[in-house]
Each structure stands twice: as C-alpha cells, then as structure tokens.
C-alpha cells in the first residue's frame, strides 16, 4: 500500500465529471481531501492524499491524465518561493505539522518537508516576506 499526495486542476470541461467517485470506485483508493476550491470561472482545484496499491494509484493517475484533469507536477497547492524566503522562522510556531522546520541548528535554515504539509495555509498568513503562497 502506498500514499501519494496529488494536486489536481479541473478545467471547466471536467467539472461535471465525478473524478473522486471514480478514484474510489474504480481504483479502490482511500481519499483524504486537504483542500478544494471552485473558482468564479467554474474551474476546480483539489489537493488530496490517495491511499491504495501502487498499481492502482498509477492506473488512477493514468485515468486522470487521459481525461482533461491537469496534475500539478509539484503535487501541492502550497508553495514556498525559495528566492523570497529569508529563513526568518516566523512560520515555525504556526505550522501545525512541522512541515516547516529547522534541520541544521548551526545555519538555522528553514526546511520545507512537503509530505508533512496539510495545506492549512497558516504559513501564508504568517510569512512577512510573502514567500509562502497557494497556487489557488
């Protein structure tokens, strides 16, 4: 069994399709939704965890690629711009999962462990340098 975080973009043409239903029904995946949004243009964004066999996850990804769903390569809706981050550490006490954390105590650089991010966006609200942002 494996878990994979994926970030989907559903263009207007795909909005009517029950994508999540197919992931569950056809590929036997357990879905955990972090964040979802439908824009005024009737486009959808979705950040989810899928849990299932590796084979089924791969097949599900193929199914989505074959339709017009756009899989964001970074697999996450929350991004940190490395050029804007100054490693101040203001986000540290706001990130609930320690996705943003310090590894090397000497340099005190703020590292971002993507797998731990639950897309709560607390860092977006608390980054004074505009380094953390959501792609939607």
């Amino acid at each position: 069994m494996a878990t994979k975080k994926i970030c989907l973009f559903l263009p207007k043409s795909e909005m009517e399709k029950p994508v999540i239903y197919h992931l569950v029904k056809d590929y036997d995946l357990v879905i955990n939704i972090f964040r979802a949004k439908i824009t005024a243009e009737e486009e959808g964004y979705l950040v989810i965890d899928v849990n299932g066999t590796e084979e089924n996850i791969e097949k599900a990804m193929e199914y989505m690629r074959d339709s017009n769903v756009i899989l964001n390569e970074t697999n996450r809706g929350l991004q940190r711009d490395p050029d804007k981050c100054v490693h101040c550490g203001n986000c540290l006490s706001h990130c609930p999962t320690k996705a943003l954390h310090i590894e090397d105590q000497r340099t005190r650089k703020i590292e971002f462990k993507e797998d731990l991010c639950i897309e709560c966006l607390a860092c977006v609200r608390n980054c004074p340098f505009g380094a953390c942002y959501s792609i939607f």
């Binding site: 540290l92 006490s93 005190r108 004074p128």
Partner: protein
C-alpha cells in the same frame, strides 16, 4: 556599567590592521567561528593572531528610509506632495528631494479597518523594488511658483535615473530585543507577528551571538564613523541610534538583558544588493523593512576579543506580554530567556509548552558575516576608526502627556 569615556588601550592599532588587510594577510573570523577558536587557542594567543571578527544581523528595522533626489523636470516643479507607487514620500525639503520611509502605507490601504489588515505593500516594498532595479511610478503635485511652474507630474523611473538615493536609518541594530508573548485570551497581531492567546507561542528578534552590539557591549569599537556593510554597500554609523539607551540591566558579562544601544546608519542605496533589502508585511500591524547588516570588530586587545566570544547561552532577553504590559508601558516581565533556550523549537514558561518563532534570520546573518569576512580577506573592506564614541551613560525619556497651563 563600566564608565569608559575614552577609547580602549590597544595592542594592535586600526592602521596596523588595515595594512594587513591591504596586504591581504588579515586573519578574519566570524563571531560564530571565534567562539571555538578562542576556546582552542586561548585568549591571548588568539588576540595576537586574529585581526578582525565579523558580526551581522538580518531582520525588520522600522526606523529606516532613504533620501532621494529625482533631478529636475522641464519645466521645473517644487514638489509639495509626492508618491512613489502610491506610497507617500516626505517632500518638506528642497524642490525635488524627498524622504521615503519604510513604514509608510500605500495610499488607500484600509489599514486595520477590516482587522487584521494585510498591509501587502508599502514603503519597505518600494525600497526593495528600488534596489531591485524595478521601474516605479512617481506622481507629484505642487502649488506652483514663478521659478517652479509645473503643478503636476507623472513619470516612471528606476534607481539609475536618480541622482542620489541615500539610505538614512535613524535606528538600526538594536543591541538586544524583547521577546513577545500573549498572556491574554484573545489573539493579537503585533510587529513581532501573530501571537496566539494563552501563551501558546512567542517571537524573538535578534541574531544573538552574531549580533553586532552584543559582541561589543560597551561600544569600544563600534562608534560614530565606524564603517559598516549595509545591505552590500559600504556605509557607516552616522550617530547614536534613536532610543540609544546604554543604562539598562546587564549580565555579568556586560551584555544588556534588554534593548540597550542602537545605531544610526547610512549608505548609498545604488550599491546595495537586492536580497538584503526586503519589504516586510505584518498582518494587523503594518509595513517594515528588513535589512542585512554586517559590522567588523577589530581585535585591538584581548578584552575586545573576549567580548566577541559571547555565545547564545549567556545572552538573555526579556519575555514581555504584548497584550498588556508592552502597550501599557508596565515594567513587568514574564521571565528572561537565553537565546540558547529560544533557539529550541519550544520552551517551557509557567509549566506551559510555548512554541517559538523568530523574525530575525540567523541564516542570513551568518551569510553576511561570511561575506564581510571574505571582503576583508580580499582587501576590499578596510576598517575605520570611530571619530566619536557612542554614549555609554544615558537613559531614555518617556513622553509625558500633560495639560498646557
């Protein structure tokens, strides 16, 4: 504190150290490296060997800004009001001179009308964009005079079009700083970030053992005229910073356990490096400017060297309740904490786990200390002897709100 009024005796002189720098033979270490080095070599041997220790800091410094001269338009204007990217600049000086302040909000920013305000763009960001070479809009108004007839002007410019852009910061490099916590039951938004209710998190803001004035607690080498690395430009200390207050509680090592001294700095903004001049948006509070600053300390004698070996364990900061004691100017402090403790992910206060945030970037400070070290080693950065010492005995006044009579 020790009542030094003259400069310290020296074993080495500025001239000798500068000669070694020019010959590219100076021995330079960062304030981070010097701790282990002195431990290993012994103080006296290290004092003979090492010529310079580099210190640095990177963090928001609200009392910053720059003087700008735009040059004259045809026909000429005597600007009475002006905005860069809709951010008001002060024009109560000569015709096309202006001062752009770091905390100025953008015109029409709703501020805290819809609390907490976002403050996404202001003076600090204009300064960042100027240094980054962006094209910016200038809009100016005037009442018109015989020799300055133009009454309105809109144009676009970059930093290269300006005659002078001189950063003039009345207060930078606070020697030490408060740690902010929230003891109340409501969330608060401060210049030290968002503080959760019930003491769930705190924020500190100092480079600790790397910070310039913590390595020279009695202002023996950092004084008026000292050359500094201000965001990549070689500038200098032009005076004591505002609120400079050496008369504070100090540890046995002489290091202030609260604010203490400050520096007024200036440098040519055309020589600055973009990444070290950054606009800051603080939700619910406003705009600021984060600056990278490096200051070399000449090792004139073993005492001076000893003070640069101060480490986070021996530097304490006061934890203050920003929901009540800070705004009400009460003298109460929650506790004192060393920077060693603060650099852990969480601390314990009154049997409660408190998560730690920081607004000062140690990683950037380290980077700057290394850059200044390399510049000195390459012979590109000479030291300057201060022309005057910063006040070593001085308190601070509060504003008395009194009736007129």
């Amino acid at each position: 504190m020790k009542n030094h009024t003259v400069f310290p005796h020296s074993m080495k002189t500025y001239e000798e150290i500068n000669k070694k720098i020019e010959a590219r033979k100076a021995v330079v270490l960062t304030a981070d490296e010097i701790i282990d080095y002195v431990e290993k070599k012994g103080l006296d041997a290290a004092a003979k060997e090492v010529d310079v220790v580099t210190t640095a800091t990177f963090g928001p410094m609200c009392s910053s800004g720059c003087f700008i001269n735009f040059g004259h338009s045809k026909p000429k204007i005597r600007m009475s009001e002006a905005w860069i990217e809709d951010v008001l600049v002060y024009t109560g000086i000569a015709a096309v001179d202006a001062y752009l302040g770091a905390t100025q909000l953008r015109h029409n920013d709703p501020a805290n009308m819809y609390y907490p305000g976002d403050f996404t763009y202001g003076g600090g960001h204009v300064i960042e964009e100027l240094v980054a070479g962006k094209k910016l809009q200038l809009f100016a108004l005037s009442y018109g005079t015989d020799e300055y007839p133009l009454r309105e002007l809109r144009t676009y410019f970059t930093i290269n079009d300006l005659n002078q852009v001189i950063m003039v910061n009345p207060r930078n490099c606070y020697q030490n700083y408060n740690v902010a916590i929230n003891c109340s039951e409501r969330p608060i938004y401060t210049y030290l970030g968002y503080l959760k209710p019930g003491m769930k998190n705190l924020t500190y803001c100092s480079a600790g053992q790397l910070s310039p004035l913590l390595n020279d607690p009695f202002y023996e080498t950092i004084g008026i005229g000292t050359k500094v690395w201000l965001a990549g430009a070689q500038g200098h200390v032009y005076g004591e910073g505002t609120q400079h207050c050496p008369n504070v509680e100090r540890g046995e090592n002489g290091v202030p356990m609260e604010g203490g001294g400050t520096l007024a700095l200036t440098a040519n903004m055309k020589e600055m490096i973009p990444g070290y001049v950054r606009g800051v948006s603080l939700k619910g509070y406003g705009i600021s400017l984060a600056l990278g600053i490096g200051i070399p300390i000449p090792v004139l004698n073993p005492d001076i060297l000893k003070r640069t070996t101060v480490w986070d364990r021996d530097i304490y900061a006061p934890v203050i309740d920003y929901s009540l004691d800070y705004p009400q100017r009460n003298s109460h402090i929650v506790c004192r904490m060393s920077y060693e403790e603060l650099k852990k992910n969480e601390v314990i206060i009154n049997n409660k786990v408190v998560e730690v945030s920081s607004l000062s970037s140690y990683s950037k400070a380290l980077e700057i200390a290394e850059i200044v070290k390399d510049d000195i080693k390459k012979g590109d950065f000479l030291l300057s002897k201060p022309i005057k010492r910063l006040p070593v005995e001085q308190g601070i006044n509060s504003l008395v709100v009194r009736k007129k009579n």
